[in-house]
């Protein structure tokens, strides 16, 4: 162990340039059918000591590790890449690992809920299967015809740029579960599926655009989008989701007329 690690924790508060720490209260929506609460969801409040550099995920960790081990949530990489920990923080869908506590007003209790529109399994964990089902439906893989080339499939920088935005998706479901049309009956394909279809429809190497447009030209496809921009606002990767959906609509209209 190094000397710095052994330094008493109390001294850190007074050091110059030290990270400020503060008390923060998290109001978490719990659901655990096997507990005494039964099939009812309820709110639990926890107050923990957090640092200025801490994210909501750090606070959740602290609660789970030091206060209540029964609190359940998903996280894998904890660095905004895997898309496991999309939750609803203060009424907005965000990644718990990309949201700093100081950015969501720690003076008041911070509400953390599971993302809406998907069945809650326990606490903050939702069943993602319906979400992935509509993702699979749009065939998120390269479709080509003819012989495979013996080298890479080449593409110009401009051709790559055309769909660059939609390649950033991490399938966290923040967009789909922020969509009011998806909340109603969950039949809508959802923004994420359309974004990932967009990624292939506008890829010059892909030849499955017609099939994908056909799939999304559905009663529950792109035409249910009401352009409320909830998805664009929710996307932790900054994808212009609504724009992508409109581009798919336009491709369908130019194909039909």
């Amino acid at each position: 162990m190094t000397a710095t690690l052994e330094a008493p924790a109390g001294d850190e508060q007074t050091e110059v340039g030290a990270i400020p720490s503060f008390e923060v209260t998290l109001k978490i929506r719990r659901y655990s059918p096997e507990s005494e609460h039964g099939d009812e969801a309820y709110w639990d409040e926890y107050t923990v000591l957090a640092h200025g550099t801490d994210r909501v995920l750090d606070a959740l960790h602290k609660i789970k590790w030091e206060h209540d081990g029964s609190l359940t949530f998903r996280r894998s990489c904890a660095h905004g890449i895997c898309g496991s920990d999309a939750v609803r923080i203060n009424g907005r869908n965000r990644l718990a690992c990309k949201t700093l506590l100081k950015d969501v007003n720690p003076d008041k209790p911070i509400t953390v809920e599971p993302i809406k529109g998907l069945p809650v399994i326990k606490d903050l964990v939702v069943d993602m299967e319906p979400f992935f089902a509509s993702y699979r439906e749009i065939m998120p893989f390269l479709i080509t015809t003819g012989n495979e080339p013996s080298k890479e499939r080449l593409q110009s920088a401009e051709q790559r740029e055309r769909f660059d935005d939609t390649t950033k998706c991490i399938l966290c479901a923040a967009c789909t579960s922020s969509c009011p049309v998806f909340w109603t009956d969950g039949q809508y394909f959802g923004p994420a599926a359309i974004v990932n279809a967009h990624r292939f429809i506008f890829d010059s190497r892909d030849e499955g655009a017609t099939q994908r447009l056909e799939i999304l030209n559905d009663k529950e496809g792109v035409w249910r989008c009401r352009t409320t921009f909830n998805c664009t606002e929710a996307c932790p990767r900054g994808i212009e989701v609504t724009k992508a959906i409109q581009e798919v609509k336009r491709a369908m209209i130019t194909r039909a007329f």
Binding site: Y31, H37, D39, E40, A41, Y42, W43, G117, L118, P119, V120, D127, P130, F131, A133, S134, E137, P180, V181, F182, T184, D185, G186, Q187, E214, I215, N217, D218, K219, E220, G221, W223, R224, R226, K249, M252, I253, A256
Partner: protein, 154 residues
């Protein structure tokens, strides 16, 4: 503070319906989407010209009486104008409300009832309106002459 989640039993799981109900693909929603944009633009012209002619030109709103309407509907131009306005507005509005019902009705039963009411209202208004525009008699036989359009006495 415990409010129930909508996860258990009351709602079917998202996207569960797509299994075994046949395809819902087709150009219907595409055409309806395009129609809403196109009819919207046309209606802006039709409605504002209608308002201008009825309320601003000449004596303005004070000129509207039975004779005014009778005179307008004696001309095929205004018959077709009003017919277009009636049909486009009714289809545009009905399609909009249909969309809202699809978005907000959660149960199939609610959706069915609301849509039946909507389509009934659509048929009644459109059929009655069309009938009136085409069978309108600007010069009814026993009406007092001062209420009729000028061309009736001739």
């Amino acid at each position: 503070m415990a409010t129930s989640t909508r996860t258990s039993s009351s709602l079917a799981a998202p996207r569960s319906r797509s299994v075994g109900r046949g395809t819902t693909r087709g150009n219907y929603e595409l055409y309806s989407w395009v129609f809403m944009r196109a009819s919207g633009v046309v209606l802006v012209v039709l409605v504002f010209a209608h308002l201008f002619v009825n309320l601003m030109v000449g004596d303005g709103v004070k000129a509207i009486d039975f004779a005014f309407v009778g005179g307008k509907w004696a001309s095929p131009f205004w018959q077709i104008w009003d017919l277009l306005m009636l049909w486009l507005a009714m289809i545009h509005g009905t399609n909009g409300v249909r969309t809202i019902i699809n978005d907000y009705a959660e149960r199939d039963g609610t959706r069915l009832v609301l849509k039946l009411a909507l389509y009934t209202a659509f048929v009644v208004v459109t059929v009655l309106g069309t009938l009136v525009i085409f069978t309108f008699d600007p010069c009814p036989a026993d009406a007092p002459a001062n209420l009729l359009a000028s061309f009736c006495t001739a």
